[in-house]
C-alpha cells in the first residue's frame, strides 16, 4: 500500500481499505469512535500514524466477529439492544473488549471507570454497561 507514513491509521483503514468499523469522531483521540485493537490494546486510530503500526496485527470491529458469528460482547450488545444511532459502538465495544480481556473480574464500578474515556451522545449508557456486564459473564464461562 502506498500511503504517506504520517497518515493516521484511521484513514488507511476507512479510506484505503474501505472498513466500516473504525469511524472518525473527533480526530483528537477524545471520543473513541476510531478505536482499534493493537496487540490487545484499545488504540485511537485517528491520532496513530500508520507508520507506528507497520507489521502489527490490528483488529477492527468487523474483525472481532460477524453477524453470523458475533463475539460475546457484540452478541450481548445485540441482545440488550444497546445502541441508538450506533455510531459510537465501534469504540464502545472494542474498548470493552480490551478492558475485559485485562480485567475479567472487574466490578461494575471498575467497568464504568474503564469506559470513562468513551462518548455516546445518544446516551445509551445504561444498556451499554448492562451489555458489557452480560458479556463479562459469558466470557468467564
Amino acid at each position: 500500500m502506498d500511503v504517506d507514513p504520517t497518515t493516521p491509521l484511521l484513514y488507511v483503514l476507512s479510506d484505503d481499505l474501505g472498513l466500516r468499523g473504525p469511524k472518525f469522531g473527533c480526530g483528537l483521540g477524545q471520543c473513541g469512535s476510531c478505536t482499534v485493537l493493537v496487540k490487545g490494546q484499545a488504540v485511537r486510530s485517528c491520532i496513530t500514524a500508520v507508520e507506528s503500526v507497520l507489521g502489527v496485527e490490528i483488529i477492527t470491529l468487523e474483525g472481532l466477529g460477524t453477524v453470523d458469528k458475533p463475539h460475546p460482547i457484540q452478541k450481548a450488545f445485540i441482545e440488550e439492544q444497546a445502541a441508538q444511532c450506533g455510531y459510537c459502538l465501534n469504540g464502545v465495544i472494542l474498548t470493552a473488549k480490551a478492558f475485559l480481556d485485562k480485567n475479567p473480574k472487574a466490578t461494575e464500578k471498575q467497568i464504568e471507570e474503564g469506559m470513562s474515556r468513551v462518548l455516546c451522545r445518544c446516551f445509551t449508557h445504561t444498556r451499554m454497561l448492562r451489555a458489557i456486564g452480560r458479556a463479562q459473564k459469558e466470557m468467564a464461562r
Partner: protein, 794 residues
C-alpha cells in the same frame, strides 16, 4: 429478548419489489405516476368513503409537498407488494437512531397482516419516497401511526385486499380474515389466496382512506411488541453503512475552511500556498465559502491546514458574561403572545403573595459524536447526494438553489449519520460536498472536522426567562406570567433558505429574515408547541380552554432577538428550556406555601394524562410526600440527599412525561451525584415498548448531560467550545444513576411524540432535588459544581 437477525445492512432496497417493477418495464417513479402500470381494479362503489382531499402533504407542519413527490394520499406512494409476497413500504420518516424504522416495519406488518420479516422499508429517498418534510419534532409517531400516511395506506390496502380476496374466493368479506399475507376463509382454512396472487406488481390506484379501520391495539401481535432492531447486528459488527461509509467510484475528498471569526469576510485565498501538495486537486471559492479537494482525506486535511486564507476583521461578539442581560436589552424584538387573559397585572396586584424568579439556559449543541459527513456527485446539470439530512426533499430544494440545478435533476438519498438530535451539521456538510463536487465535476466526500462541526452548527436556543405568579391566601396559584427572551439566527433550511445554515450563508444566501414585531398581536389560535405556556394554566384562546391546568389568569410572552450564532432545533427545542423554568418555578411556589411538590402540581392540573404521569412517577419512586426543602439532615460526610419532581405535557398534547430524581449533594463542595431517576411516559399506544424505553433512558441521560455540563462558550470573536475538552458531555463512565422507566400504554388514544418527552423534564427534576436536599435554588443551566456551591451559599 429474542431478536430477529435480519439482513446485515440497513433495511436494504426491497429487491424483490423493485425487480418485479423492473421486469414489468417501469421504474418506481413511473409506477407511482401511473405511466403504463397495471392497475388492480376495485369496485369501491358504495363502499367508497369520503376522501381527505387536503392530504397533499405527508408531513405535519402544513407546508405543501414538493410537486413531483409521490402523493401522500395515494396508497401506492407508501406500499408495494411483490410476487414473492414481500411488502415494500416507503417512508419519509427516517431512522435517526430512535428505532423509527423498526416501529414502522411493525406497523406495516401489523396493518397488512404479514410477518415482520417480509417487510422491507425504503427510507427517505427523493426518487421513491413521499415528501414528509423533516424527521423531527416528535412528529414521526403521530404522523405515520394514526389514520393518514403510512398507517392509513396500510389499513386502506388491507381492506382492499379483503375485497379482492372476496371476489377471488367468492366468499363474503365478513367471512374472511387477512393473515400471514393471505386472505383466508374464517371457517375453512383451505380456502385462501395470497396477496401476491391478488396484486403483485400491480398498482392499488387507491386513495388513502382515513376512515379505513385500523386494527385495534388490543388485537396487535407485531405492533406493541418489543421487537429488536434489525439494524442492530450490523451496527454491532461494524458492517452497517452510515453516510460516512458511502464510497462512490472516483470519489475525491474535500475539507472546508471556515471564517477566522464569526462575521469575517474573505479577503484573499492564496492557492499557490498548497497547489504543489500531494493529492491536491482544487481550491474552491464561492463568495465566503472556501474549500479544498484532494485525492485522499488526509491530504485534504493537510491542504486545508496549509492554505493561506486572509479574512477581514470582524465585529466583537457580545460578552458571554453579560449575555443573558444582553438578550433582555435588545431594541429589536419579535414578540409572540401565546396566551393572554389580560388580567395578569390586576390579579398579581390582588394576590396575597407574588413570587418572581429568573432562569437562564445557555446555547447548547447537538454535538454529534461523529462529525457530519456527506457525499455528493454533481455532474453537469444533474446531482446525486448521500446525506444524513433530516429532510431529503428540503435538501433537494435548497441544493437546487445552491447549485443552480433544477430540483427534479437532483436525487437526495438519506443515509444515516451519527445521532443528530436536531439540526447538526448534516445539511451544511451536504452543501459543502455538493459545492466542492460541482467545482471538480467528480463525486466528493466531506466530513467536517470536530471544530467545524462544533463552532458553526445551529445551536439549541439560549433563554432568559422571567416567571411571576400570584398566590392567594390559601396558597393556590391565581395568576402566572411567563416572559422570555431568546436569540435566533437561521434555522432548518426548509425549501427556500439554504442561508439558514453556515455553508449556504457563506455561499451567498441570506438566512430567513428577522422581522421585528412589537407589541405582539393577541393570540388567535392556541399552540403550545414551544411549551411557553405552563402546564398549570387553562390556556384560554379562541373561546376555549386548551391547557393542562386550572389557573385562569395567564400570560406567556416570547421576545425573539437576533442571535450572534446560528440557531436551530435541538432535541425538545424551546420546550426543554421553558419547562426547566416552569417546573423549577412551580417548585419554588410549592415551597413558598409549604406544600408537597407533587400534591401542589396535582392541585393545579386538569389534564388527566398529566395527572396520571405525575402520579405514576411519584408512586414508582415511592415519593416522600412533604414540603421541600427537606429538614437538613446531612450525613457524617456532609452529604445531603433530596428528591425532586418535574413534568410536561409535551407541546401541550404531544406526549406526557414526569420524572422523579434523587440526588446527593456534598455541602462543602457542591459536588452533585444523581442516584436515581424514575420517568413515566405516555406516548399514546406503545408501538415498541423496548424502543420507547431506549428513547426514554437515552433522553433522561442526555438531559442529565445537558443539565449538568453542556454550554456553548465564546470569546470576543469565536466559539471556544470546539471539542470534548471544552464542551462537557457526560462520558460513558460517569456514575450513571439507576433509571426506571414507567410506560403508560394508551391503546385508546392517538399516537403521540415519544423521543423528546423524557429529556424535557430532567433539568427541573434535578434542580428541584438539589433544592430539596440543600435549600439552595439553582436557576442557571448547566448546574456546574461552582454554581451549585454558589446556590448553597444563598
Amino acid at each position: 429478548m429474542k431478536n430477529p437477525s435480519l439482513s446485515s445492512t440497513e433495511l436494504p432496497m426491497a429487491q424483490s419489489a423493485a425487480d418485479a417493477l423492473a421486469r414489468a418495464g417501469f421504474s418506481r417513479r413511473d409506477f407511482i405516476k401511473g405511466t403504463g402500470a397495471l392497475i388492480v381494479s376495485f369496485s369501491m362503489g358504495g363502499a367508497l368513503r369520503t376522501l381527505n382531499a387536503q392530504q397533499t402533504r405527508a408531513g405535519a407542519f402544513g407546508e405543501p409537498a414538493a410537486a413531483d413527490s409521490p402523493p401522500a394520499n395515494e396508497v401506492d406512494s407508501w406500499i408495494a407488494i411483490a410476487s414473492d409476497g414481500s411488502v415494500t413500504a416507503y417512508t419519509g420518516k427516517e431512522e435517526l437512531g430512535q428505532g423509527m424504522s423498526t416501529a414502522q416495519m411493525q406497523l406495516v406488518a401489523e396493518e397488512l397482516c404479514v410477518p415482520f420479516r417480509r417487510v422491507n422499508l425504503i427510507v427517505a429517498d427523493t426518487s421513491v419516497t413521499p415528501d414528509q418534510g423533516v424527521t423531527s419534532g416528535s412528529q414521526s409517531h403521530p404522523t405515520n401511526f394514526n389514520r393518514s400516511n403510512l398507517a392509513g395506506a396500510c389499513a386502506t390496502a388491507r381492506e382492499a385486499l379483503l375485497q379482492l380476496g372476496s371476489k377471488h374466493l367468492n366468499i363474503p368479506e365478513d367471512q374472511l380474515v387477512a393473515l400471514d399475507g393471505e386472505i383466508r376463509s374464517k371457517s375453512d382454512a383451505s380456502k385462501k389466496v395470497a396477496y401476491a396472487e391478488l396484486v403483485a406488481g400491480k398498482k392499488f390506484a387507491l386513495k388513502v382512506d382515513p376512515s379505513a379501520k385500523r386494527k385495534p391495539a388490543g388485537e396487535w401481535t407485531v405492533l406493541g411488541k418489543p421487537i429488536g432492531r434489525p439494524d442492530m447486528p450490523a451496527m454491532a459488527t461494524g458492517t452497517f453503512e452510515y453516510a460516512h461509509n458511502v464510497r462512490v467510484p472516483g470519489m475525491l475528498h474535500g475539507m472546508v475552511i471556515r471564517p477566522a471569526a464569526v462575521g469575517a469576510n474573505l479577503m484573499n485565498v492564496d492557492e499557490s500556498s498548497v497547489s504543489g501538495m500531494p493529492g491536491f486537486v482544487k481550491v474552491v471559492v464561492k463568495k465566503n465559502f472556501v474549500g479544498v479537494v484532494a485525492e485522499k482525506t488526509w491530504q485534504a486535511a493537510q491542504i486545508a491546514k496549509a492554505l493561506n486564507v486572509t479574512w477581514s476583521p470582524a465585529p466583537e461578539l457580545p460578552k458571554q458574561e453579560t449575555f443573558y442581560d444582553h438578550l433582555r436589552n435588545q431594541k429589536q424584538t419579535r414578540d409572540t403572545l401565546l396566551v393572554n387573559s389580560r388580567d395578569v397585572e390586576q390579579k398579581l396586584a390582588e394576590a396575597a403573595t407574588v413570587v418572581k424568579a429568573t432562569y437562564y439556559h445557555p446555547y447548547q449543541m447537538h454535538g454529534s459524536v461523529g462529525s457530519s459527513c456527506a457525499v455528493a456527485d454533481v455532474q453537469g446539470d444533474k446531482a446525486t447526494v448521500w446525506s444524513p439530512t433530516q429532510g431529503v426533499w428540503h435538501q433537494r430544494a435548497t441544493l437546487a438553489m445552491l447549485l443552480g440545478i433544477k430540483p427534479e435533476n437532483i436525487r437526495v438519498i438519506f443515509r444515516r449519520g451519527s445521532g443528530c438530535y436536531g439540526i447538526n451539521g448534516a445539511d451544511t456538510v451536504t452543501y459543502d460536498a455538493a459545492l466542492l463536487s460541482q467545482a471538480v465535476g467528480k463525486p466528493v466526500r466531506v466530513q467536517l472536522t470536530r471544530k467545524d462541526e462544533m463552532a458553526w452548527e445551529n445551536y439549541g436556543f439560549a433563554f432568559t426567562i422571567d416567571e411571576r405568579a400570584g398566590l392567594d391566601s390559601q396558597g393556590n396559584i391565581i395568576a402566572w406570567d411567563h416572559e422570555a427572551w431568546s436569540p435566533v439566527l437561521g434555522n432548518r433550511p426548509v425549501y427556500t433558505y439554504p442561508g439558514n445554515v453556515i455553508t449556504g450563508f457563506l455561499a451567498g444566501f441570506q438566512p430567513e429574515e428577522f422581522r421585528p414585531r412589537s407589541p405582539a398581536p393577541e393570540p388567535a389560535n392556541f399552540s403550545n408547541n414551544s411549551n411557553a405556556i405552563p402546564s398549570y394554566v387553562v390556556g384560554h384562546v379562541g373561546g376555549a380552554d386548551h391547557g393542562a391546568g386550572k389557573v385562569k389568569s395567564e400570560r406567556a410572552l416570547l421576545h425573539n432577538v437576533v442571535s450572534p450564532f446560528w440557531t436551530g432545533p435541538l432535541r425538545s427545542p424551546q420546550r426543554l428550556q421553558n419547562t426547566f423554568a416552569h417546573e423549577s418555578f412551580m417548585d419554588e411556589l410549592a415551597a413558598r406555601v409549604k406544600a408537597d411538590p407533587v400534591e401542589f402540581r396535582l392541585r393545579h392540573l386538569s389534564e388527566e394524562r398529566m395527572i396520571d404521569v405525575v402520579k405514576s412517577a411519584a408512586k414508582a419512586a415511592n415519593w416522600d410526600a412533604r414540603p421541600s426543602p427537606k429538614p437538613l439532615a446531612t450525613s457524617a460526610a456532609g452529604i445531603a440527599s433530596g428528591r425532586g419532581i418535574s413534568c410536561v405535557a409535551y407541546e401541550g398534547d404531544n406526549g406526557y412525561s414526569a420524572m422523579v430524581a434523587e440526588v446527593e449533594v456534598e455541602l462543602a463542595t457542591g459536588k452533585l451525584t444523581v442516584k436515581r431517576i424514575v420517568v413515566s411516559v405516555d406516548a399514546g399506544p406503545i408501538s415498541n415498548p423496548d424502543g420507547l424505553r431506549n428513547q426514554s433512558e437515552g433522553g433522561a441521560l442526555q438531559g442529565l448531560s445537558r443539565a449538568l455540563g453542556e454550554e456553548v462558550t465564546w470569546d470576543d470573536h469565536n466559539v471556544t467550545s470546539i471539542d470534548w475538552r471544552t464542551y462537557h458531555s457526560l462520558p460513558l463512565g460517569f456514575a450513571v444513576p439507576k433509571i426506571e422507566i414507567i410506560l403508560l400504554n394508551r391503546p385508546d388514544q392517538p399516537a403521540t411524540g415519544a423521543g423528546e418527552t423524557a429529556i424535557t423534564v430532567v433539568a427541573g427534576a434535578i434542580g428541584n432535588a438539589i433544592f430539596d436536599a440543600t435549600g439552595g435554588r439553582i436557576r442557571q443551566v448547566p448546574f456546574t459544581t461552582e454554581r451549585i456551591k454558589a446556590a448553597l451559599a444563598g
